[in-house]
């Protein structure tokens, strides 16, 4: 990734389209977006107001794409985008935004601010102004195939363990199946129980599926850092394998941004509609439920709540599905205030967890999540994103809260009916 300020400016120019122009034209500096952002509400720092994070993109739009701005540029009146300015904004664009999308839901003029921050990252990355942690994760994704450096032998070993533990076969590189399961590195290394859960559920449901040894990584660092070329390359690896194996549906696992990357950005990144469907694991499980292929034998006795991962709910449209599924296994399910499409982010999405520099900040802004959890006092929290899960565990520990975190898929597998 060679980078320079010229490349950064050109990348920002390429990001300007009619949506960006309409959004910037409409902003009245009302500041309402600040109150929707946990990085503002928990720090009280006005710099972290969402629309302010898009300032690099706004300057380029103004000076290159408006009449007034072009005249101003000729007269030398416009504010410049240079290395110093971008360096100053790095902390706002990467450390102080999880791209959770709450600001886009409250802006009274309708600006999709989150999308503009995502676009701003394209310019930042091209100018070499991305955090070291994310650059490392992205480089590993390209060269090794996984942001955490997980290679196929590691997954093969985990699969072997799962097969030994369950006596079930985990299909690898099988053609013409219903589903191809993707995994996040986090699941492979920290939560192999997820693979076990899917194997059990699919066995009971009689679903055919496979994992590919060539493209199993669901996460996409290119999306987080904001380098579309790399994001496209990572998506293309999955597309090639899915086409080769002729699978009907590619499953995005319990990971938030991975779903955005493959489901919504994927076809647009590679410039071609997919020959297969993409579904989140929760959508697949809810479909199995509707078809009567997912049956439960028992229920959880504890009080449960559900944390909506931003990219799956607000930015992904998977909101009813987890609730349908939880209702199968719980009589004591409580919603946190603002749950669903207005849920508060855990504070570690959008590449924040891969950026060590933001560690202190993400634990600070967790206070928002803590308040939400405190309001319902659950015995356990269910979620469907391993990144949320790791960070929620971190945050709960930091604030001395003893509440276990559960994966929805894994919890369902524990209650499967025997028939």
């Amino acid at each position: 990734m060679s980078a320079s300020i010229e490349k950064g400016i050109n990348a920002l120019k390429r990001q300007v389209d009619s949506t960006v122009a309409a959004f910037f034209s409409s902003c009245v500096h009302c500041g309402l977006c600040a109150e929707a952002c946990l990085f503002y509400t928990e720090t009280g720092d006005p710099k972290r107001t969402p629309i302010n994070k898009t300032e690099p993109l706004r300057r380029i739009w103004k000076s290159e794409f408006t009449l007034v701005g072009r005249v101003g540029k000729m007269l030398g009146l416009t504010k410049k985008v240079d290395d110093k300015f971008l360096e100053e904004w790095q902390e706002l664009v990467y450390d102080s935004c999880t791209m959770c999308g709450r600001c886009s839901m409250v802006c009274p003029v309708g600006n999709d601010i989150t999308m503009m921050i995502r676009k701003t990252r394209e310019g930042m990355a091209a100018a070499g102004q991305a955090p070291a942690g994310l650059i490392g994760a992205t480089t590993r994704s390209v060269t090794i195939g996984s942001p955490m450096g997980v290679k196929w032998p590691a997954l093969r070993a985990q699969i072997k363990h799962v097969e030994e533990d369950t006596g079930l076969k985990v299909p690898v590189d099988v053609e013409d199946v219903e589903y191809m399961l993707l995994l996040s590195s986090m699941e492979i290394m920290n939560f192999p129980e997820f693979i076990e859960a899917v194997a059990k559920i699919f066995k009971k449901a009689g679903a055919t599926w496979t994992i590919s040894s060539e493209a199993f990584e669901a996460t996409n660092s290119g999306i987080q850092i904001g380098v579309s070329d790399i994001a496209a390359e990572l998506v293309q690896r999955i597309v090639d394998v899915a086409d080769k194996l002729r699978v009907k549906t590619v499953i995005s696992p319990e990971c938030g941004h991975a779903y955005t990357a493959i489901r919504w950005d994927g076809p647009n990144l590679v410039g071609k509609a997919f020959n297969f469907n993409v579904r989140h694991i929760l959508e697949v499980l809810d479909d199995l439920r509707k078809d009567g292929r997912l049956k439960m034998a028992s229920k959880e006795s504890q009080r449960l709540t559900y944390h909506d991962p931003c990219q799956i709910a607000r930015r992904g449209g998977v909101i009813d599905e987890p609730r349908n599924l939880i209702n199968m296994i719980s009589d004591d399910f409580v919603e946190m205030p603002d749950a669903g499409k207005m849920n508060w982010c855990c504070g570690a999405g959008g590449g924040v967890s891969a950026n060590e520099r933001a560690d202190e900040l993400r634990l600070k802004v967790f206070e928002r999540k803590k308040a939400q959890i405190d309001a319902v006092k659950p015995d356990a929290i269910i979620s469907a994103c391993s990144n949320c899960r790791i960070h929620l565990e971190d945050g709960l520990e930091e604030y001395n809260m003893d509440i276990p975190l559960l994966s929805l898929t894994e919890t369902l597998a524990e209650h499967l009916a025997d028939d």
């Binding site: 309409a22 959004f23 034209s25 409409s26 500041g31 309402l32 107001t49």
Partner: protein, 219 residues
């Protein structure tokens, strides 16, 4: 120049110039935005784009409960001065007569006392908006020269209109001339500043609703 000459310039050439700049400016701005276009979405849709976009164009007028609670001062002031400006602008008898001369038809006006009340409330709300802008931590941080200029250019027509109507100070023709000139200033600056949001917010809201709706989320 006598005050009668000033008034006739304001009502004649002045208004023509301001109107031309306003209309041309708005068209240029729309063109600037829409000519950029956006790429077709190749991802399989989960919901509808068009209907969701249209819905958000209207629903974004009302904030969600939590947002209202957190930013009630800004929101209430915003409602008051927007509604106030609309009512004064389009329902005071002199304005309707003025517009009737240009477009050929009129509509019933509101009683003077009602318009008066709206004007006073709007003036108070606009002053409070400025105070809010300068004292609210976030707004103060975001505020730039354009925010202050557009505030002033919105404020002036309301105040000069109120004064002209009640003939405080100068003689009537010069007061009316000042009022009309202040409106012309507003018209000229309108397309090239954030005042343009009055039009573009509908495009922005449509895009927002469409982007969310495509993914099956009501925004």
């Amino acid at each position: 120049m006598t005050e009668i000459e000033l008034l006739s310039w304001a009502r004649g050439p002045g208004l023509q110039i301001a109107s031309i700049v306003f209309v041309a400016g708005v068209i240029i701005r729309f063109f600037e935005i829409l000519v950029l276009g956006r790429k077709a979405n190749l991802a399989e849709a989960k919901g509808r784009e068009m209907s969701s976009g249209l819905k958000t164009m209207i629903t974004r007028t009302v904030p969600d409960k939590a947002t209202f609670k957190r930013s009630s001062v800004t929101i209430v002031l915003g409602y008051i001065f927007h509604i106030g400006l609309f009512v004064i602008c389009f329902f005071s008898a002199p304005h309707i007569l003025f517009l009737k001369d240009i477009i050929g038809f009129g509509w019933p006006s509101l009683p003077t006392a009602v318009i008066d009340a709206f004007a006073v409330v709007t003036i108070i709300a606009l002053v409070a908006t400025l105070v809010n802008r300068l004292t609210n931590k976030v707004m103060r941080y975001l505020t730039n020269f354009e925010d202050l200029l557009t505030w002033l250019l919105t404020f002036l027509p309301v105040v000069t209109g109120y004064i002209a109507f009640h003939r405080i100070g100068f003689t009537a023709p010069s007061l009316l001339a000042i009022h009309i000139l202040s409106v012309e200033l507003l018209l000229i600056v309108f397309p090239f500043t954030k005042l343009m949001h009055a039009f573009t917010l509908f495009i922005a809201r449509w895009y927002n609703g469409a982007i969310s709706g495509y993914r099956g989320v009501a925004s």
